[in-house]
Amino acid sequence: MSDTTFTQLLDLAVGTVVVASFAALWLRRLVGVINILAVQGVALAAVALLLGVHESEPELVAVALMVLVLRGLVLPGLIMRAVHTTGARAEVESLINVPSSLLAASVLTLFAYAVSRDLVALADTPHAQAMPLGIAVALIGILMLVTRRKAIMQISAILMLDNGIALVMFLGTSGVPVAVELGIASDVLLAVLVLQVLTFRIHLEFGGGDLDQLTELRD
């Protein structure tokens, strides 16, 4: 694989991860958002695979496979099950409207570029240059976390935040040991499982997943 093809494919995969996070802000249907997260997971696996093939590290290819199964299939599948079991309403509810959240996300992207200028200057490789986009995905995940009101959307937002962190990790280190990725992956899996159970309990107890109703204490 030549260097320019590698750069283009890597940029394409990283670009897909970023566009997926914008699409998740844009879509109004819960199921759509979860499908987009699955797409994001697959693109993330593609990033790891490309890096693995380029650096010829079989270990990174194994990590890519793990990412594909976990972030592309298992985690979105778990969230999807949470949607079905709780019977949450299909529409996303947000504190700010869609155009403003999209604009806020683009400002965050610029911010990510601005803060990581020094990081990019450290190495002149295509993956270091794409690193700000990983930070942008993480920031967009945080934006989603603070503006979306449904409990299920918050789990999705945490997953997106973690996808962003993983992207920065792949691009920044170009080679993660399987043990490290395994640890992180099981952590996220556990978090999503716990949150899923929690969401289910919230629905059972209060009949809805709107977290704004949980800010006051009542007996």
Binding site: T4, D11, L12, G15, V18, V19, L102, L103, S106
Partner: protein, 318 residues
């Protein structure tokens, strides 16, 4: 500016004027067939224009000179765009002015005069259509600028001909992330500017949903023929621009008759292909609620914005 370049420009403009109504006819035919209707023949838009141009011109006595000159300004700005956009050749006489800013502002000039004509009649629908058209234009014009700007970063020039030539020289740059993002953004905007579903329904005469049709309710006879011809041409010129910016192969880079002949066929195929794809997709889409349109356009603006940041930070100049 020599004679062959002028000839190229004349051929280009004549070609765009000639094919625009046919492209519209083909798109209507495709839609009709997919919906199970026979549909009008593809020459129907031309026949409509001929019929309209023979009719009497009726102007409300409450309108001012703005209403009378609007169709002319619209058609003049559209013909100018057809002359400067590199649809057939990058060496047309006006290629030096074929700058993305020129094209965006010429487009806006036509839109603004059409909206002014809608307001001038002081009818409820004219005003409503004008207000909606301005809402759409206010978000879609910056998107056109920003998305083409993303491509011009790679080319190092905001001249449309230069951008097309750069893509011809570096075919792989047509698949880079920034150009894919810019393409996605531009498709949405072109659909919005051309007044197609999901932004506007060209076949609708239901007052509450119209944009373009509402503005031209009071225009009649030859004036309406001019407005309709410009609407067809604007759509086809935008298709041509979209096709040539991202799939430039076949465009003539010289004024040789042979290259020009190839370019004629290639552009016709590209424009028809794009038109048929859009017509087919339209069959499966519903028109968006008017309040949802800004959301769609904001999304395309964000895509264009991402394209620019990507071409600044990721892409090394080709």
């Amino acid at each position: 500016m020599n004679a062959s370049r002028v000839a190229v420009t004349v051929v280009q403009v004549a070609f765009m004027i000639a094919i625009s109504p046919f492209v519209v006819g083909v798109m209507r035919k495709v839609r009709a067939r997919l919906e199970g209707r026979v549909g009008a023949p593809i020459s129907q838009p031309w026949r409509d224009l001929r019929k309209l141009s023979r009719k009497q011109r009726m102007v409300s006595e409450h309108t001012s000179w703005v209403f009378s000159i609007s169709p002319i300004v619209l058609v003049a700005s559209t013909v100018t765009i057809a002359a400067v956009v590199p649809t057939l050749s990058t060496v047309a006489a006006l290629a030096q002015v074929g700058d993305l800013f020129t094209v965006a502002y010429l487009l806006l000039l036509g839109t603004v005069f059409l909206a002014l004509a809608g307001l001038d009649t002081a009818t409820a629908f004219g005003g409503m259509g004008a207000s909606r058209a301005m809402t759409v234009a206010a978000i879609s014009e910056p998107t056109i600028l920003v998305s083409i700007f993303a491509l011009s970063v790679t080319a190092g020039s905001s001249n449309l001909g230069a951008i097309v030539t750069t893509t011809l020289d570096h075919p792989s740059s047509a698949l880079s992330p920034e150009s894919l993002l810019a393409f996605a953004a531009l498709v949405v905007v072109v659909v919005a500017e051309a007044g197609r579903i999901p932004v506007d329904n060209p076949a609708s005469h239901l007052e509450l949903t119209m944009i373009h049709e509402a503005m031209v309710l009071d225009v009649s006879g030859p004036d309406l023929a001019l407005v309709e011809l410009s609407a067809h041409m604007r759509m086809v010129v935008l298709f041509g621009l979209l096709a040539n910016l991202f799939i430039p192969w076949g465009v003539a880079t010289s004024a040789a008759p042979g290259a020009l002949a190839i370019a004629l066929v290639a552009v016709l195929v590209k424009i028809l292909g794009l038109g048929v794809v859009i017509a087919v997709v339209e069959v499966f889409l519903a028109k968006l609620r008017i309040f949802r349109v800004p959301e769609l356009l904001a999304a395309s603006f964000v895509l264009a914005f991402l394209a620019v940041t990507a071409s600044f930070f990721l892409g090394e100049p080709a």
